[in-house]
């Protein structure tokens, strides 16, 4: 990355905010806005992003930005879109950026309504797999066997027993034109997807796997490495869906066992602490393998018609 890219003058999301060291989310947001350009109004439901960017009197946002409540980001975005339409402000677009708590859980009804109506909003979920703003509680985006503060590992608990909610598929089932997943480990890929999504009208969705050193439990200089391992293991499949069909996947260059991902984080520590944990690791490996199979993430299993990216 050149120094020019680090200059605040070029940025729509500038430094000085209060994110934790190594926050994947702040990195993602900076690159989202690089891709959208300045003619966007950003809606952010309550969560880490709202908290670390909005202490009154300070703001890193150089685009108009609004936070209202936790569970209504999509509906606020819809309202802004309706107002722009009524005022014939055609050059301005709306982007909502929320965390997994607001997107997968509490704001899901509002999101589903927005998708079903096909409102012209690019909704981006920066997914770090738990409620980080309140200290790391379980969400329906938390991965299986992760230990969270409300579903902690213990003598009688393996942490979360359920799989992560398959939200991209649920969103695609609404019949929206564009759904994609991305990772903070691959920022160019992320920007490309945001740009592509902005080329469509109607409701669109991007889910970004965003690492959180503070709650996942890894050193803050490992943000990108941990995220990369998520992708390379098959835990975080990167794909694009257009009109309900998978049209592109990001190939895994060299597949790594899920253990190489899990062992980097304290939230999975308990499954390594005794022999019984083998079974859980195998279960997670099976999920990663099924992702690889389903999306054709290895070169030899790629669907014939899907464009391959490295």
């Amino acid at each position: 990355m050149s120094t020019q890219n680090l200059s605040n003058d070029q940025e729509l999301f500038v430094s000085g905010h209060r994110a934790c060291h190594g926050c994947g989310m702040s990195l993602a947001v900076r690159h989202i806005l690089k891709a959208t350009g300045k003619d966007v109004i950003v809606v952010t439901p309550t969560g880490c992003l709202e908290t670390f960017t909005s202490p009154y009197g300070y703001s890193p946002w150089r685009v108009p930005w609004i936070h209202h409540l936790f569970e209504n980001g999509p509906a606020i975005a819809t309202g802004v879109v309706a107002a722009l339409k009524a005022q014939k402000r055609e050059s301005e677009r709306v982007v909502a950026i929320g965390g997994d708590g607001s997107t997968f859980d509490i704001g899901f009804g509002s999101l589903s309504g927005m998708l079903e109506r096909g409102d012209d909003v690019l909704y981006i979920c920066v997914d770090n797999g738990a409620y980080m703003n309140t200290g790391g509680q379980r969400s329906s985006a938390s991965p299986i066997y992760s230990s969270t503060t409300t579903d902690p590992a213990g003598k009688r608990s393996l942490g979360k027993l359920q799989k992560k909610k398959d939200l991209p598929t649920i969103i695609a089932a609404h019949g929206v034109p564009y759904v994609a997943t991305a990772s903070v480990a691959y920022l160019k890929d992320l920007q490309k997807k945001v740009k592509k999504a902005m080329g469509y009208h109607g409701a669109r969705y991007i889910q970004i796997d965003s690492t959180c050193p503070s709650v996942w439990g890894f050193p803050s200089d490992q943000t990108l490495e941990v995220a990369r391992r998520g992708v390379q293991s098959g835990m975080v499949p990167l794909f694009e869906m257009e009109d309900g069909e998978v049209t592109k996947v990001r190939k895994i260059k060299k597949k790594i066992p899920v253990e190489e991902y899990l062992k980097t984080q304290k939230r999975f520590k308990h499954i390594f602490s005794d022999a019984d944990g083998r079974e859980e690791i195998q279960t997670i490996q099976a999920l990663a393998d099924s992702n690889i199979e389903r999306y054709g993430l290895l070169k030899k299993t790629a669907p014939q018609d899907a464009e391959v990216q490295d």
């Binding site: 909005s54 009154y56 209202h68 009804g109 309504g113």
Partner: protein, 400 residues
């Protein structure tokens, strides 16, 4: 100006909203509000009304959509009732705090449980502390007129708050009344397009809905209170300005009906005030010095006007279609608080009347007045509310 027709109360509201030219309407069905938003939907479908109409999946989203639209500088509107208004509550608090003006019709209906669709004021009055300005109307004509004023009040640069026009479900929304409509140019003259002080705009990027710590949150709340308090004067001016156009003066924040020299005064809100006025006339003709204060504005609480109107009265009976569980009627609580420590303050008695659509007729009012006269003579403090027409036969065993 002489455009009069007979129409349903809901239709009168829809016609009023249409004349106010909202950019954005968002709606979710709930009885008895539904006819209003159905009527607006027909107007949009028929090309008579050029509004963005967003059909949402919940009342929570309806209130959120109009909040987002307001932030982006558009005049916006929704209507709801009962559980729907409660579901919107969190949105109202946030939008008032963020100074987002819009108008809601709060069609009054009781709150579950038990579930019922009949009228009382528990729903809208539960939003008391949210920062939403609340008006209550007696007739559909008053509902029509008040909606015009509501947009102007909400969008006033010195106020900038959501405004709710509360009207009794069924009794007003579903009954037919002769309504005199304004001409569109009269409405346009009274209510120019919304000129937001701030709005979401890519050419002037601002951040909205910030986080405020203990060093500044209180000031935000104080500012909302002050907008309401100092807004009272502006609200009265707006009602006067409208009355000059319509030729109909419904009063300012209260209507004092035959309160001069009154010994006993009733306080009531909504459609029941029509009945109470008739009862006042009857009892006056029988020689009783009785008056009524119709509370048109509940928030901000117009205590200055009320205190002025009840000066010299012996006792005030507040007819409440609401109840604060474990205490008493909410209007009595406000009134007693403001009277506490005032010299020669009259006795205030809370009468719980009309919950869940329980009928209030002239005889009911006569009984209330009789009870009020009875307690006014005694020295016993009136700490407990009086439940009007409570059928003790059907109470569970052991309930006194």
């Amino acid at each position: 100006m002489n455009n009069t027709s007979v129409m349903e109360g809901s239709e009168a509201v829809a016609v009023a909203v249409k004349a106010c030219r909202p950019h954005v309407i968002s709606a979710y069905p709930i009885s008895p509000q539904t006819h209003i938003v159905e009527s607006l939907a027909r107007m949009v479908a028929g090309g008579e009304l050029d509004s963005q109409y967003v059909r949402v999946e919940s009342e929570f989203s309806a209130a959120s959509v109009i909040s987002g639209a307001s932030a982006a500088g558009s005049r916006s509107y929704t209507a709801s009732s009962s559980q729907g208004l409660l579901l919107m509550t969190e949105v109202f608090y946030a939008s008032a705090g963020m100074r987002l003006p819009f108008v809601i019709t709060g069609v009054n209906r009781q709150i579950s449980a038990p579930i019922s669709i009949q009228v009382d004021h528990q729903d809208t009055m539960s939003l008391r502390d949210s920062g939403v300005i609340q008006f209550y109307v007696e007739s559909s004509q008053e509902a029509y007129d008040t909606h015009m004023a509501a947009f102007k009040i909400a969008e006033d640069p010195g106020i900038l708050l959501p405004v709710m026009v509360c009207m009794d479900g069924w009794i007003l929304t579903h009954s037919y009344e002769r309504i005199t409509l304004l001409e569109q140019d009269e409405v346009d003259g009274f209510l120019p397009p919304f000129q937001p002080v701030n709005s979401l705009d890519v050419n002037d990027p601002k951040s909205w809905g910030s986080y405020a710590e203990e060093d500044m949150l209180m000031e935000f709340k104080y500012a909302v209170h002050q907008a309401m308090q100092s807004g009272k004067k502006r609200m009265k001016e707006i009602f006067t300005e409208l009355a000059q156009i319509t030729g109909r003066d419904h009063g300012g924040l209260i209507e004092a009906y035959r309160t001069e020299d009154a010994e006993f005064i009733l306080v009531a809100m909504g459609s029941v005030t029509g009945t109470v006025k008739e009862a006042v006339d009857e009892l006056r003709s029988e020689g009783k010095a009785l008056g009524l204060i119709k509370l048109r504005c509940y928030r901000p609480f117009p205590h200055e006007d009320i205190l002025n109107a009840i000066k010299g009265a012996r006792a005030v009976g507040v007819m409440e279609a609401n109840f604060s569980m474990g205490s008493e009627g909410a209007v009595s609580m406000d009134l007693k608080a403001k009277l506490c420590g005032q010299k020669d303050a009259p006795l205030v008695v809370s009468f719980i009347a009309g919950l869940g659509g329980r009928e209030i007729n002239i005889n009911t009012v006569r009984n209330i007045v009789e009870e009020l006269e009875g307690v006014a003579g005694s020295d016993v403090p009136q700490l407990e509310p009086r439940w009007v027409g409570l059928n003790t036969d059907i109470l569970p065993k052991g309930v006194e």
